[in-house]
Symmetry: D2
Subunit: 372 residues, 4 copies
């Protein structure tokens, strides 16, 4: 491939110019002016459809857990900042992303530990996997956390994670938009001047105040770009899925799917990251579709598999897997008796806010992808 | 007072013209052209502040209940349409309003009865007082109802109320904006062609689908002007008040006050009628304030009194009372051990949507009105 | 008609109860408790469709003009406040409305005069009919005004009208929602402590800043409920109508119709009052329709007639006429050569904000009402 | 630099772990599971502040113009698709961007030529530099274009550019978000099945219908994510700047700055690209600031220079220059008699929609950057 690879296509309306000595000289001349000839790159930069740089991956919890725990032996919190194993998609190692522009990691913390407080322009969720006594402080609001709960630490908020001395070692999944905010050249980072925040409110106040069905606290104002309901708990989520399941047929592609929302706007929990929980009913084999946007799934309950671009990926509780943008995917509950629940962190709020969301159903073969 | 009462005021910037023979002749001449001289009415139509036509009233449930029940003996549902005792504010008998532009009534229905389905431009809530087996069907969605639950029958929706044959006699409070919609010359009424609606969904589906904290059903669309969560139940409301009470100081004027909202917009349940529930904590004596907008209160729990424009009004469970626009009011829990809960139906959504809301704290005497 | 007129209707689903001695006794008993039996008033308060209390009226400028001018001789500005002839709809004299809940008046002011500054919860527009040198100051912003221009003096803004000493006697039409705001028991009135406002900005700054097509002033914030473009001028309005007319077929009911908008929201100029200008092209006979909401029209240009509920009302330049809510109406340009332009002040923003707008086309007779 | 460069920083709260044989073995082990240790990359992916990959560049029109025209000799439209010289920022050659994620190019077309119609998920503006007879068709709407006018071809719209046979050779600047939409893995491309669109409306109808100050076409609906005012013309823009300049002090950083807006939302013209025009008054030397987001400037009028990160860049009419994200920049009008106008295409709508906008004033030295 020459320097002036011109990505020719023999299709009406597409560039198809062959190199000539005169053109090559012209291209060199343009370089002097920090310019180029569009027809040499047009077909490359205007693809017919998206082809993600990310690969589908399953990260198995039973494999990673021991390595996560081992980090406690290997590095101190003081030196490491945080003891985290991050998910490194083979197609995205340049930006340390799990999929697309989303970062994912598994963090461990021992009882009595607390990370230093900081803030950044990247937004995060912390999804608890195991252990007791975990808590997070966000802008002075302390939230307690149990398994399958998650907490928001949005863009610009001071935050610190800890585990009560009375608790047990905790492991959780971090999910952030660090790669995206870096790509947008908009990331700032600050260490809290005191390294610790004072807790200024009743524990769990933001969820008790804002997380009530069909009720808002009169007189309380909230205009920030993210949800005031900092913590979303598993128990009411699962109960909501059961209630909704009782009166919906569900999505052909996603079973019983609910999106976590900012109760003030009914929009996504944060402007750059969305979260959802879906229930695959016993025996459910959802149909395949694809859409723009990247998803990082966490198996909250049950076991089964997903078929992504024609290849099967098995998963069970606390495994993590990803679906790249515009990849065909279908989810299958492996049990005929129990439901399976998938938590998904995605950049769908970005795709929707910018008009870039597009979706397509897999119509052949009854909506089931043939395995390749 | 002459026909040309000119409402004179001796204040700079206000009209203060005395009648003369020449002016009286001029006024008569103007009448021929369906016109008048503004200065004769200016001070009347531009008052310094609102003076409501409504009076504060308490309707005591123990007094009205027997009359409500007696209506069952006196008229048939076929002839009466509905057996309802309406609340007739002495200052608003011309429009049959309980307060301001809000209609209120107490309706009774026996087991096995069902009212004929209809729809109108007026919006309504139905707040259950006593009895079992009550239900309402709204646009094909059936909602079951218990004490202190309420259901919406918004502008333009087909609706019918009934009591299951297995239930007991039910009494509930109706609240509508009939007087307002009539005043706006925008009321339409239709009887359902079949007199009954077919139920097309799972029972209580709208609340199960939309009434989940921090979760929305992905893929479901709702763009109507009213809440899709047709029923609001007492149990989760009371639980929400307790949770919120644990982390708020509350409003000085209203204790722990939550507004029922349309979960899609976080705005009022309907465009013309709002609803709230407030908890007065044991021993709480809230401070006085006044605001534009009319409120029709229903005592959902406990006992106490309110001071309205300097006069005390005692109330206990299931009593109804009203606070006219721009009337000073303060609420007092009569118990030092138990909380008291007030449900309030109001036109605050109208005042807010149109920029007419104004509020003032009573600053003298520590915020407590002297009794007159 | 007895005191207990019960508005009986022999229709399924409607009330149809005949008086009996027992019932009459019951009704009297209910009165003691400030209550009544719904079935005695149900059919009255739930009409099948709106029947406006307002009558169609044309106020002819050539008739009223001399009376307006005569007021200058009869009363001083100091005593009268303002010299205004108000439009008194025969069906709305109780609230001094021109139509529905809208007040209209014709005001005159001589060169060098200025009215004292005040503010109120009612919102107003001032539409200039004749004269030079008119100006209005709104919250310190001075706007100059020529024929067919109008200025907003929204809810809560300090405002004063004047005519420059170098000008000529000016007559304009006032339009306000005074009756509505009074009905909502939300009207407040204040005289400016200095009786005059200081002008704190460049003349006409609000229109120069906000009234630019497809451009907003970067960095300027505006979150109030009304348009920051305080003045709307005739010349760009007429030019806009001509441009739009070149590329639209127009509305069958209204010809080429444009709504004046708040440029920040693309919504109505004020929350309670809307304004529009429509062009009837030469020879245009628009079709009849009816809708909820009241309209007060001012003939800005040309001549013609409107048929309202089957009766013809002729109009020419600067005449004012009204169309009551839910009245059939069609507008006809009387000229085959010139266009005619109608300015309309209405409460459509209220109807729309509250979900009360409804519209119906007249389908018989080719959309033309037979004259009655 | 080893493979496991761990970006150590000796700051509390930052990662600072030295490599050990044990750790290096651990890192290798993690790679097997498509994972890594966060502390090795944390300081790299969480920078203290943005450092753009783009460089400031001025592309001088007098230099590029001849090369643009020469492309007409070198390639045919059929083979090249479009004859465009694209701006290739030295820091962004991997994505063919002019700055950040924004593509820019100079396109030429001869009279009678027309490009084949296509559509893509990327959004574009076409800003005319010279020539007569240019037009663009967007979803069947034909817009005529003169110097300093621009037209939108938003995400998903069919579009084609042409020059009337009666016109002259036209050169314009293209600006697109191609690099961004590619990075989001959301770009789709289609050639129009007929290669040409039928024009279905009056010429320039979208601007005539929607581009009117303070007026909207009643009854026309528009809910798409981009402005219905497809064309923005230079003449009314310049007139608007003059009007606004008469009543504002202007921004200390940008002089008289107006943003082109979607008249329906008052928001940006498209969801991913914003446009503004600013006037530097005679002699104006604006103060320096920096903000997130990338800007591609086109000198619409006048001459002067900008200081970007301490280095001076001169510009005159039709030159193009860029300001990378978070770069200090100040603009200076080179004339004491004439104003200078800068058109700017940017991704500020993305930064704002996602909560990533941040801004800082240069406070030292009176807001003037020292030259480096």
């Amino acid at each position: 491939m020459s320097k002036h690879d011109n990505h020719r296509e023999d299709v009406v309306g597409r560039a198809n110019v062959e190199d000539t000595p005169e053109l090559l000289a012209y291209y060199s001349e343009l370089e002097r002016f920090k310019a180029g000839a569009l027809w040499t790159v047009a077909n490359k930069i205007e693809p017919w459809q998206p082809k993600s740089q990310s690969e589908p991956v399953v990260w198995r919890y039973r494999e990673l857990r021991e390595h996560v725990l081992r980090s406690v032996q290997l590095v101190t919190p003081e030196k490491a900042g945080r003891r985290v194993i991050y998910l490194n998609n083979p197609g995205r190692t340049d930006v340390a992303a799990a999929v697309g522009w989303i970062y994912g990691g598994l963090q461990v913390m021992n009882p009595g530990e607390v990370a230093s407080a900081h803030r950044h322009s990247a937004s995060a969720i912390r999804f608890i996997i195991e252990g007791t006594g975990a808590y997070t402080v966000v802008d002075g609001h302390k939230m307690t956390l149990g398994a399958n709960d998650f907490v928001l630490t949005p863009n610009g908020t001071w935050h610190e994670h800890g585990v009560e001395a009375s608790g047990s070692p905790c492991i959780w999944q971090d999910g952030l938009d660090i790669p995206f905010v870096n790509a947008m050249e908009a990331n700032f980072y600050e260490v809290h001047p005191d390294l610790r925040q004072a807790v200024g409110y009743q524990v769990d106040d933001m969820t008790k105040t804002w997380g009530n069905p069909g009720l808002r606290p009169m007189g309380e104002q909230w205009t920030k770009g993210y949800s005031p309901m900092f913590k979303y708990e598993w128990a009411p989520t699962y109960e909501s899925l059961l209630k909704y399941a009782a009166c919906t047929e569900g999505s052909p592609f996603d079973g019983v799917l609910m999106e976590y929302v900012n109760p003030v706007t009914n929009g996504p929990v944060m402007q750059t990251l969305g979260a959802s929980m879906q229930m695959l009913r016993p025996g459910e084999h959802a149909r395949a579709h694809r859409h723009t946007g990247s998803g990082l799934y966490h198996v909250a309950k049950g076991e089964g598999y997903s078929i992504i671009d024609g290849k099967r990926y098995d998963w069970r509780e606390h495994d993590i897997f990803c679906v790249p943008s515009w990849s065909w995917h279908e989810h299958v509950n492996g049990s005929d008796r129990d439901d399976a629940c998938l938590f998904c962190l995605s950049d769908l709020p970005v795709m929707r806010a910018l008009g870039l969301y597009r979706e397509q159903a897999f119509v052949d073969n009854g909506g089931i992808q043939p395995l390749v």
